[in-house]
Symmetry: C2
Subunit: 353 residues, 2 copies
């Protein structure tokens, strides 16, 4: 189990941002302008990210959780259908608002979600671990059947996939494909939803900033420093996605067949299935390599609504995310793959979920 | 109405951050460390700010609104007494939680608040416009009478005043005495409250980060970039407060007597009373000078509970905040004071509130 090739780290991390000259240059400009909170990069970042994703409006905010909350609140939904296998931040906005929540099974290896709309006002799709949550054109069909349904895309783990819903929500947390450290954004083509989300995120100030707030709002503002980095990341995203595609290729090459999952549309963290994710994680940690379990399904969380989802529960037992970031070398990936090979060596049968 | 002496601005702003070499140096270090989200400056900033305010624990977060929400939620209060004349961010946490809210009159020129505790679990004092909200020792007396009462201090406008309650909440928004652009912090001596606020602010991850969240949480994290600036600001706060003390002296010197309010403990924005705040603001704007109305009392907000507070309403009609920031020159202040003198020239009687 040689660590040759791992030059930089004593402990191989899950993720690290890839900051280039452009990010540093923008940051310097923001400081020189004396604009560390409100500032000109915010609008630029919003426009650049909207344009990249072929949407009209961007509303920057301080996290992916905030973005989802803004979208859910602006949708006006009373009853909502949400994914079960996801990060809790996806669903918390609906909890804050006290909505009536139904969960649907979601899985990283099946294209499309089991989406059964009845009397729901909104639905959230999570594009899990870099795979598009629905087939192309699916949302248009759904909207044709349910014209009033608001479709929200959770794109936190899928920067680069083109969203098809009414509102696309992004996280730019430090481990995301492009990052602002902490940060988020909502994209939409709907002027009314964009205005509402922008007002909610900025304390619902009235136009004259007279200290009258027509509604209860939030301080979900992104800073100019974050946006300065974000703008540069958007300009470099094609390069970043290409680099990650290469890392995916290395994992494909060195990992044993039994652990592999279907190809991703974009690479966030490389995800695998192993006989025992908890044991594998401990072993990797003991060898100096970080990893993450799959998300703990919403149905199992202590504040859950009692839904039963055996598929989601199995994914939690078997799913593992491996270190993935731009500065990884082929040697790093090969070493992680060797550790994984070692963890499954005692098991005879492949994992079936 | 000469603008001689105003060298930098076409429009004289309300506020601008005072960033020095130390802030820039810390920011550079954060970028060199590749720590733009999570990072080492956060703990350093928390410890430095706690120490400066003679408290044990600091929990950094992304805004003053978040800080208040964390404090209110961690207090476990069901019924809360809140200030009426304040920024809406003070009270929104209680709205998010659906608490039973009573409001008390609060005023910038009277030391002490009209605080009538009955069956409240918590009370929030706002240290409005740089003046301490209660006499020294008042909180200890209150706690002796109501041992279970949680006392929360809103210190957003009063950096440098020593808080006496259970939890002190700070905003470090761009216009505050010390700033991180956007940002906030809770200080407390109570280990349990500190742990609870830290968990709530960081998505209530369990210790092993196993993706199980024992409670519904929030992403209220501060970034390392913000903390890098904040740490430097704490180290420079005595210098910053001294500079602002000088600006207060200039306003005292050049403003007409009738508009002046009692001395402040620390200077945030210099506050005055004028016959008609709305007209004064329009006039100042027409001359190229920014200003802010006093807060619109909570009792008058569209989402208010119907309480009547004529004092708060009067303050909104007559109160005005004048530009205040470290890089102001005596010439800037003199010019603003001349504009104010002009606005009250038609009025014969002083304003009585």
């Amino acid at each position: 189990m040689s660590r040759v090739g791992i030059s930089k780290f004593i402990f191989l991390p899950m993720a690290e941002p890839d900051l280039g000259e452009m990010e540093r240059g923008n940051l310097n400009e923001a400081v020189i302008d004396n604009q560390i909170g409100v500032g000109r990069f915010i609008g630029d970042f919003e426009r650049a990210w909207a344009e990249y994703n072929k949407m009209l409006y961007g509303v920057a905010c301080n996290s992916g959780t905030s973005a989802l909350h803004l979208a859910i609140k602006a949708s006006g939904a009373k009853k909502i259908l949400m994914p079960n296998l996801t990060m809790a931040g996806t669903v918390w906005g609906a909890h804050y608002e006290g909505l009536d929540i139904d969960y649907m099974e979601s899985s990283p290896d099946v294209p499309g979600n089991k989406c059964e709309i009845t009397d729901h006002d909104a639905v959230v799709f999570v594009h899990l671990y870099g795979r598009k949550a629905y087939p192309d054109g699916y949302v248009a069909e759904l909207k044709a059947r349910f014209p009033k349904l608001i479709v929200i895309d959770d794109m936190a783990e899928a920067h680069g996939i083109m969203p098809e819903g009414d509102i696309a929500c992004y996280s730019f947390y430090g481990n995301k494909i492009i990052t602002t450290g902490e940060g988020g954004m909502c994209l939409t083509n709907n002027t009314k939803l964009a205005d509402e989300m922008r007002s909610l995120a900025n304390m619902y100030f009235d136009k004259e900033r007279s200290m009258i707030h027509p509604k209860v709002g939030y301080n979900y503002r992104m800073t100019n420093l974050q946006a300065a980095i974000g703008l540069a990341q958007v300009e470099r995203i094609d390069f970043i996605l290409e680099k990650r595609r290469k890392i995916e290729g290395w994992y494909d090459k060195y990992l044993p067949e039994g652990v592999k999952l279907p190809k991703r549309d974009v690479l966030w963290f490389y995800d695998i299935k192993v006989p025992n994710a908890k044991k594998a994680q401990y072993y990797l940690k003991s060898q100096g390599c970080d990893s993450r379990r799959f998300f703990y399904p919403m149905s199992l969380q202590p504040w859950a609504n009692g839904m039963k989802d055996t598929t989601g529960e199995k994914w939690y037992q078997h799913g593992l995310l491996l270190p993935t970031y731009n500065n990884m070398t082929e040697g790093d990936v090969k070493w992680v793959a060797e550790l994984i090979t070692h963890t499954i060596s005692g098991y005879k049968r492949p994992v079936v979920i």
